[in-house]
C-alpha cells in the first residue's frame, strides 16, 4: 500500500513536470508552426490543422533591393560572433592562467575588477561609444561590434575559465615539470586536455550572448553591418499581415543557438555553476 502510494505520487510529479515543460515550450512550438502557414491561416483563431508551406521561408530569405537581406545579416552575425568569441578566448585563457595556475599576488582583486565591469550598464557607455565610433568612422561596421562583443563577454569568460583552470591538479603540473616539460608542453599536454570541456562551455555562452545581442547592434549598426536580431525586427510591418513571415524569420534567427544549446546543455549547467561556486 505504502509503496503503491509512493509510486502514484512519483508518477503524478513526473506528469506535472511534463505538463509544465510543454507549457514553457509552447510559444516556441507555436512560432515554428506559424512559420509554415499562409498569412491568412496565421492571422486568425489559432489553428493546428493547415496546409504547411515553405513559402514564408522563401519570402524572408529572398533579397530585396535596398533592404537588409537575410544572407547579409547572417554573414555579419557570423563574423561578429565568431571573431569576438575567438578574441575573448585568446585574451581570457592567459588571464585565467595567471589567476588560477600561477596566480598573481592579488588575484581576487583582479577577478573582482573584471566582474565589476559587468555591473556598469551598457547604457551608461553608449553615448561616448557612439561618439567615438562616429569619430573613427566605425559606425555601421562589423569591427565595432567585434570589439564591443569581446569586451561584453570577456569578464564572464575570465570568471568561468579561472575556475576550470583551478580544477587542474597542481601535482600533475609539477610532475610534468619534473619530467622536463617546458611551459608549452605543460599547457598542451596537461592543462588543455583538462580544461577543454570548460573552454567549450565558455565559448558557447559567449556565442549565445553575442548572437542574441540587440542594443549595441541597433545603436551602432542600424544601417550596414546589421546583425540577425535587427533583421528579425525588420520583418515587422505596420501594413498588412506579417505574423507568418515574422515567425519564419524568428525560427531561422533562433535555430543556430538553440541547436548549439541543446547539444551542450549538460556542459552549460556545469560551466555556469562551477564557474562561480568552485
Amino acid at each position: 500500500m505504502e509503496v503503491g502510494k509512493k509510486r502514484a505520487v512519483s508518477f503524478l510529479l513526473g506528469l506535472l513536470s511534463w505538463a509544465v515543460a510543454l507549457v514553457f515550450f509552447f510559444p516556441i512550438f507555436w512560432m515554428v508552426l506559424n512559420g509554415f502557414k499562409e498569412e491568412i491561416d496565421a492571422n486568425t483563431d489559432p489553428k493546428l490543422v493547415f496546409d504547411p508551406t515553405f513559402d514564408r521561408f522563401d519570402e524572408v530569405t529572398s533579397q530585396t533591393q535596398g533592404l537588409l537581406g537575410f544572407r547579409e545579416a547572417f554573414m555579419n552575425s557570423v563574423w561578429a560572433v565568431s571573431i569576438s568569441t575567438i578574441l575573448v578566448l585568446v585574451l581570457a585563457v592567459p588571464a585565467a592562467y595567471a589567476l588560477a595556475i600561477r596566480p598573481v599576488a592579488k588575484w581576487r582583486d583582479v577577478l573582482f575588477f573584471f566582474i565589476s565591469t559587468k555591473f556598469l550598464p551598457v547604457v551608461a557607455a553608449i553615448l561616448p561609444l557612439w561618439i567615438i565610433a562616429r569619430e573613427l568612422d566605425l559606425l555601421n561596421t562589423r569591427l565595432v561590434l567585434i570589439i564591443l562583443y569581446t569586451a561584453m563577454n570577456l569578464p564572464l569568460a575570465v570568471w568561468m575559465l579561472r575556475s576550470f583552470f583551478s580544477e587542474v591538479p597542481k601535482e600533475l603540473i609539477e610532475a610534468a615539470q619534473i619530467d622536463g616539460a617546458k611551459l608549452r608542453g605543460q599547457i598542451t599536454s596537461v592543462i588543455l586536455p583538462i580544461v577543454a570541456p570548460g573552454l567549450a562551455a565558455t565559448a558557447l555562452l559567449c556565442v549565445i550572448f553575442a548572437w542574441n545581442e540587440f542594443f549595441l547592434a541597433v545603436q551602432l549598426n542600424p544601417v550596414d553591418g546589421s546583425t540577425i536580431p535587427i533583421w528579425v525586427t525588420s520583418n515587422v510591418s505596420t501594413r498588412g499581415n506579417f505574423l507568418a513571415k515574422l515567425s519564419a524569420a524568428s525560427t531561422l534567427a533562433t535555430l543556430p543557438v538553440v541547436l548549439a544549446g541543446w547539444l551542450a546543455q549538460k556542459r552549460m549547467i556545469r560551466g555556469l555553476s562551477m564557474g562561480a561556486i568552485k
Binding site: S10, F24, S116, I132, F214, V232, Q265
Partner: protein
C-alpha cells in the same frame, strides 16, 4: 657585508621579475577591458556636467551639476526608475522561485527526464527580440493571440494585455526566459549536494520537509545568491524587450530605454542623457557592492 646586500638585492630582483612574469599574461585582457569599458564611462561622467545637444548641433557648454538638479524633478525619469526597479526585482524573484520549483521537480527520475529538461531550457536560448515579438504578436495579441483565444473559449472577454498591463507583459516574457536559467543553476546546486549529510539526516529520521528546509536549502544558498546576482546584472539593463513589446510609454519605459529616447533615440540631449545614465551607474554600484559581497562569500576559503 656588501656581498650580503648584493645577494639580498639579487633575490629581490628575481622576485620582482617572477612577479612580472606572472602578471604578464593578464596584461592584454586587463588593458583591453580598461580601454573599452572605463574610458567611455569617464567620458560619460564629463558629458553629464555639460549642456550638449547634438541635433541640431550646438556647442557644448559646461554647466556643472545642472543636469542632475533637473533630473531630480523630472517626473518621467522618476517613473522610469520605478519601472526599472519593479521590472528587475519582480522578474528576478519570480524566475528564481519558479526555477527552484522546476529544479526540484527535475531532480528526480521520471520517464523522459532529459527530454523535459531540454524543452525547459529552450526559452533561455531564444533571442530576446524574438521572444518579445512572439509573445506580443502570438500570445498576448487580442485578436490572434493564443492567450486571448483561451480566454474567449472560456467565455471571458478578450484583453489587450500589452496596453492594459505593459509592465507585467514585459515581466512575463522576462520570467519565461530567465526561469530556465535559474533552474539550471539551482539544478547544479541540487546535484552537487553533499550526499552524506542527506543520508545522515535520513538515518536520523528527518521528515522530507525538514530535510528540505534544514539540509537542502542552506546548501543551496550560494546558488540562489548567484542566480539573484547574475539575474540582476542582466535584467537591470533590459532594452530589447521594451523596444519590441511596447516601444516605451508609461509603465514600460525603464531607465535604459529612457536614456535611449533622450539621446540617440530622438532627443539628442547628450548632456542630460549622460546624467541619467550616471544615475544608473550609481544604482548599479549599490547592487554591485551587495553583489561583490556575495561573490567574496563564494570565493571565501578557496586557496589559490
Amino acid at each position: 657585508m656588501s656581498q650580503q646586500t648584493d645577494r639580498a638585492e639579487q633575490v629581490k630582483r628575481l622576485q620582482r621579475r617572477e612577479g612580472w612574469r606572472r602578471r604578464l599574461p593578464l596584461v592584454p585582457a586587463l588593458v583591453f577591458t580598461i580601454v573599452v569599458t572605463q574610458v567611455p564611462f569617464i567620458l560619460s561622467l564629463w558629458y553629464s556636467l555639460t549642456e550638449w545637444k547634438i541635433v541640431p548641433p550646438e556647442p557644448r557648454t559646461f554647466i556643472g551639476f545642472g543636469n542632475y538638479v533637473d533630473l531630480l524633478d523630472n517626473r518621467f525619469f522618476r517613473e522610469a526608475v520605478w519601472t526599472s526597479v519593479w521590472m528587475t526585482v519582480s522578474a528576478v524573484l519570480l524566475s528564481l522561485l519558479l526555477g527552484t520549483l522546476l529544479a526540484i521537480l527535475l531532480d528526480r527520475k521520471f520517464f523522459g527526464q532529459g527530454f523535459v529538461r531540454t524543452l525547459l531550457i529552450t526559452p533561455f536560448l531564444i533571442m530576446p527580440v524574438v521572444a518579445g515579438l512572439v509573445w506580443k504578436t502570438q500570445v498576448f495579441n487580442s485578436s490572434f493571440g493564443v492567450l486571448n483565444w483561451l480566454l474567449d473559449s472560456l467565455w471571458f472577454e478578450r484583453i489587450e494585455f500589452v496596453t492594459r498591463w505593459p509592465l507585467w507583459s514585459i515581466v512575463s516574457v522576462l520570467v519565461w526566459q530567465w526561469t530556465p536559467f535559474m533552474m539550471l543553476i539551482v539544478l547544479a546546486g541540487l546535484q552537487g549536494q553533499d550526499q552524506s549529510v542527506l543520508e545522515a539526516a535520513r538515518v536520523d529520521g528527518a521528515s522530507s520537509r525538514a530535510m528540505f528546509f534544514q539540509v537542502t536549502l542552506p546548501q543551496l544558498r550560494p546558488y540562489l545568491e548567484l542566480g539573484i546576482l547574475l539575474g540582476s546584472i542582466y535584467l537591470i539593463q533590459v532594452f530589447d524587450y521594451v523596444d519590441v513589446i511596447t516601444g516605451g510609454g508609461p509603465d514600460s519605459t525603464n531607465v535604459p530605454y529612457f536614456v535611449f529616447q533622450r539621446s540617440i533615440g530622438g532627443g539628442w540631449q547628450f548632456g542630460q542623457a549622460s546624467a541619467y545614465s550616471i544615475v544608473v551607474v550609481i544604482a548599479s554600484i549599490v547592487i554591485a557592492t551587495f553583489g561583490l559581497r556575495v561573490l567574496s562569500n563564494l570565493l571565501e576559503g578557496e586557496k589559490p
